[in-house]
Symmetry: C2
Subunit: 459 residues, 2 copies
C-alpha cells in the first residue's frame, strides 16, 4: 500500500481522532483553562503512544506542559529530526461571531471548523498519520530518520517558558534539523514553504528639555524644544528611499537571492486586495527597490509605534513642552542581531540629540530573526517532499513576524525547515477558524515523504 492509499484508507479515523482533540479547549492565555491545556497534553501523549511512538513524555514547565515524543530510526546513525508545533489555542471571543461552537468541531464540505483546527492542532496532527503512512509504504517498523516531536503548550500566550525548556532539555532535543509545522501556504492551489521570519527589537526614547513646560511667548524660539528634537530624530530615521538610517543597520543583512526574489514574484499577489486587508491603506510604500512581499518578509524595518509629548488635550496651549516620548520597534531579518541593533539605536539617538537636551533610550524585546536558505539541504528535501505530495511546484514565502522559532534554531543549533499547510484565510486567532481537510491529508503525505528525503539528504 503506497502513502496516498494508506492516507485515503485511514482518513476517517484521522479526522475522528482530531475532532476529539479539538474538543478540548486548551486556551493557554486564560488561567481558567489551564486544566484543559493539561488535559490536551495528556490526550496527545496517549494518542502518540497509541500511534506507535516508543517514547512519549509530558514535560512540565513553570507554566503549562509540552509533549515530547521520540521514535528512533532503526539505524542509530540515521539523522535526527525534531518536529515543532503547539497544542494550546487562542481564546475564542467574541463567541457570538462563531457560526458553530468553537469546541464542537464541525465538518462543512471539505472544511473542518473549530478552534485549533488550523493553528496548530490540525497541523501537528498530520505528522502521526504521515509517519504511519510512510511505514506502511516501506514495510519498515521504524522511520528512516529518528523523529522527535516537541508540542508546546504556551505558544499562544507568548512561549514564556519555552526557551528555558529548550535549554533544560537540550540534550534530549538534540537534532540535525527542526521541522516547524505552524505556518501557512500561499493558497490551496499554490503550495509554498516559509523560509524565514523577521526578528524584533524595541526601543523607547525620551527627550528631556527644561524642568517644566515653558511659555512659548516668553521662551519659544530661543530654547530647544524636545518635540522638535524628537521629530527631527524620527524624521531622519528613514531616508528618501525608505531606508533605515541607523548606522550599520544593513551591514549584516543577508540579501535576498535573485532566485528567491524570482520565486516570490511568481506568487499570485494582488496589491489592491492586500491594501484592503491592510486596513484600507491608501498606498503601498516602503524601501525603494523592493516589492511589497519583499518588504514585509525579507527587509528590516523601523516603525514608530507611538509618540507623545506636550499638550494633547482639547484646545491650544502655547508651550515649549519639557519632554517628548516615542516607542519604536524594529523588524529584523536574517543576519541581524537584536543587541547590535539596540546599540545602533543608542548611537543614532546620541547623534541626533541637540545641545541643551538630554536623551534616554530603553531597549528590549530582542527576538532574533530566523531563516532557512532555499538552497539548504533541509529546505530542498522538504520542497521535494511537498512537490511529490502536491504534484506541482512549491514556491517560497516568509513571515513578517515571529514566534519561538528563533529560539529553536539558536538553542538547539539546528537549521529550521518550515512545512505546513495552513492558509491565510483559515481565520486563526479569529472566530470561525477552519482547516481545509484535503490539505491536512496533503500535509500527512508530504510528511511521509519528508522522512525519506531527509534520510537521504542528511546522511
Amino acid at each position: 500500500m503506497d502513502v496516498p492509499a494508506y492516507i485515503e484508507a485511514n482518513k476517517g479515523r484521522f479526522f475522528a481522532d482530531l475532532k476529539e482533540w479539538l474538543a478540548i479547549p486548551s486556551i493557554s492565555g486564560d488561567p481558567e483553562h489551564s486544566g484543559d491545556v493539561r488535559r490536551s497534553a495528556e490526550w496527545l501523549a496517549a494518542y502518540l503512544r497509541d500511534q506507535g511512538f516508543p517514547t512519549v513524555e509530558v514535560w512540565e514547565t513553570a507554566g503549562l506542559p509540552s509533549v515530547f515524543a521520540e521514535w528512533p530510526a532503526a539505524d542509530a546513525d540515521a539523522p535526527v529530526v525534531l518536529v515543532y508545533g503547539h497544542h494550546d489555542v487562542q481564546p475564542v471571543e467574541p463567541l457570538s461571531e462563531w457560526d458553530t461552537d468553537p469546541f464542537t468541531p464541525t465538518e462543512k464540505g471539505d472544511r473542518l471548523y473549530g478552534r485549533g483546527a488550523s493553528d496548530d492542532k490540525g497541523q501537528i496532527f498530520f505528522h502521526a498519520l504521515g509517519i504511519r503512512a510512510g511505514l506502511a509504504a516501506s514495510g519498515a517498523t521504524a522511520p528512516p530518520v529518528t523523529i522527535k516531536m516537541l508540542v508546546e503548550g504556551e505558544e499562544e500566550s507568548g512561549s514564556v517558558h519555552f526557551a528555558e525548556l529548550l535549554r533544560t532539555r537540550r540534550e534530549r532535543l538534540a537534532c540535525d534539523t527542526v521541522v516547524i509545522s505552524d505556518t501557512t501556504m500561499w493558497a490551496a492551489d499554490v503550495p509554498s514553504m516559509c523560509t524565514g521570519m523577521r526578528g524584533l527589537t524595541e526601543a523607547e526614547i525620551t527627550m528631556f528639555g527644561a524642568d517644566t513646560d515653558l511659555h512659548s511667548g516668553s521662551f519659544g524660539g530661543a530654547v530647544p524644544n524636545p518635540l522638535h528634537a524628537m521629530t527631527e530624530l524620527l524624521g531622519a530615521l528613514h531616508d528618501a528611499d525608505g531606508r533605515v538610517m541607523l548606522p550599520g543597520f544593513y551591514d549584516d543583512v543577508v540579501p535576498l537571492t535573485d532566485e528567491e526574489r524570482e520565486l516570490f514574484a511568481r506568487l499570485p499577489f494582488d496589491e489592491e486586495t492586500w491594501l484592503r486587508t491592510a486596513g484600507n491603506s491608501g498606498a503601498a510604500s516602503g524601501e525603494k527597490g523592493f516589492t511589497t512581499l519583499e518588504r514585509v518578509w525579507a527587509r528590516p524595518t523601523a516603525e514608530v509605534n507611538g509618540m507623545w509629548g506636550g499638550h494633547t488635550g482639547p484646545g491650544g496651549k502655547t508651550i515649549v513642552p519639557k519632554e517628548a516620548h516615542a516607542k519604536l520597534s524594529f523588524r529584523l531579518v536574517a543576519g541581524q542581531e537584536p543587541l547590535k541593533v539596540q546599540e545602533q539605536i543608542r548611537v543614532f539617538v546620541q547623534e541626533h540629540t541637540p545641545p541643551g537636551l538630554r536623551a534616554q533610550v530603553q531597549t528590549g524585546g530582542g527576538v532574533r530573526p530566523c531563516f532557512s536558505p532555499i538552497d539548504s539541504v533541509g529546505v530542498r528535501a522538504a520542497r521535494r517532499a511537498m512537490e511529490k505530495a502536491f504534484g506541482k511546484e512549491v514556491l517560497f514565502t516568509r513571515e513578517g513576524g515571529s514566534g519561538p522559532e528563533a529560539d529553536l534554531a539558536d538553542i538547539l543549533e539546528a537549521p529550521l525547515v518550515f512545512m505546513a499547510v495552513g492558509l491565510n484565510d483559515d481565520r486563526i486567532h479569529a472566530p470561525n477558524e477552519k482547516v481545509e481537510m484535503p490539505l491536512l491529508l496533503k500535509g500527512a503525505e508530504s510528511a511521509a515523504y519528508l522522512w525519506e528525503e531527509l534520510a537521504r539528504a542528511l546522511r
Copy 2:
C-alpha cells in the same frame, strides 16, 4: 512748581489713594468677584472725576465694565492720545505663599505689595498724577493734548469682549496715538520701552492612515505610517539654521534695524541667568544669526506644543498606528498676518503628506503682532519724556507674547507707544506682587512730560 516738585508734594496722597483702589479684589477670572470688578470700575471713575477729568463713563460690555475718561485739550486741533490699561487683576492663589494679604496693600521700604500694584492698577494710576503735575507746572487748566483713558476690566481673563467694545465705541475712542501702560522696563536702573509684541496663530494637524492600527509584523515597512509622515513633516519645519520652512514665512517680516539690534545689545543680559529662568534649559538655541533677545522678541517662530499617536501606554505594542496628531503655534512679528501664515501651514502640510495618507489641518487663534518702530514720532516723543524723567538713556525691548494691544492698533488705526515702569521681578500673576514706588513716581513724571512732547511732535 515744576513737575518733580509737584509729584514730591503729592506722593503721599497718591499712594494713599492707590492703596484704597488696590484693596478692591477685582479678579475678573473669578465670577465670585464680578461685583468687585464693578466696584473697582466705579471707584476709578469717581477718582478720575475728582482728579479733574470732565468726562468719565463706566462702559458696560457683555462681560465686565471698562472705564472711559476724557480730558480735552484747550486747543480743539490738538492731537488726541488714548491711554490704555486695565483695572482687573489676576487671582491670588496660592494664598499661603503671600507674606501679606494681597488686598491689604502694604509698604515695605520703597515697595508697595498687593495684587495689582504693578499689573496694572499702579501703572494706570500714575497717569492721573502725571496730568496734574503737568498742569501745575504749565499753569494751564487743560492738557496740551486731548487725553482719553480706556481702562479695561477683563484683560486678565482674556479680553473676551474688548475687540467688540473697541468696534462699538470706535468714534469715541478715535485718537492719533495709543499709549499702553501695561508692560515692563528692563530694570530699575535700566529704563526702557517696549516697541512690539509678537502675534500668534495656531494649528492642529492630523495625519490619517489605515482604518485601524495594523500589526507591524504583517504590514510594517510596506504601508505608510502616519507617525513617520508626521515626524518627517515636523522634522522639516525648521532647517539646520533654525529657520521656519513654511513657504513664504519670512516674506513680510519687518527686519530688525541695525539701530534696534545695537540698542538691544546694550541691555545688560546674562544668558546663564536667563536659562535658569527658562526652567533650567540646557542651552540657548534657535534661529541662526540672532541673539536670544532678538529671538524671543523680534523673530517669528514655529513651536510644536503637543503631539500624540499610536501606543502611548506602558510596554510595547508593535503596530503601525492609524493616525498621528500635533498641535502647533506660531509666534508672529511685525508684518506677518495670521491668516496668511495659516494658509502657508496648509500648503506646507499638503506638500509633506506622502501618497496613501490623508492630512487635516485646523487653524485658529489669530492674534496680529504689534510694533512701534523706534524712529516713529510717538516712540521718539515718549523716549524723550522718559529720558527727561529718568535722567538717563532709555533703551528698547519687546515682548514675546501679546494681549489686546494689536486690537487697539488695528481697530483704532493708531500707532502704539508703550510707556510703563513695571519690572520683570514684580511677580505679576504670582504671590507677593509688588511695585517699586519710586518707579511709579518716575512713571508719573514721564507721563507729565509725554503730553508736551506728543503735542509738539504730533502737531
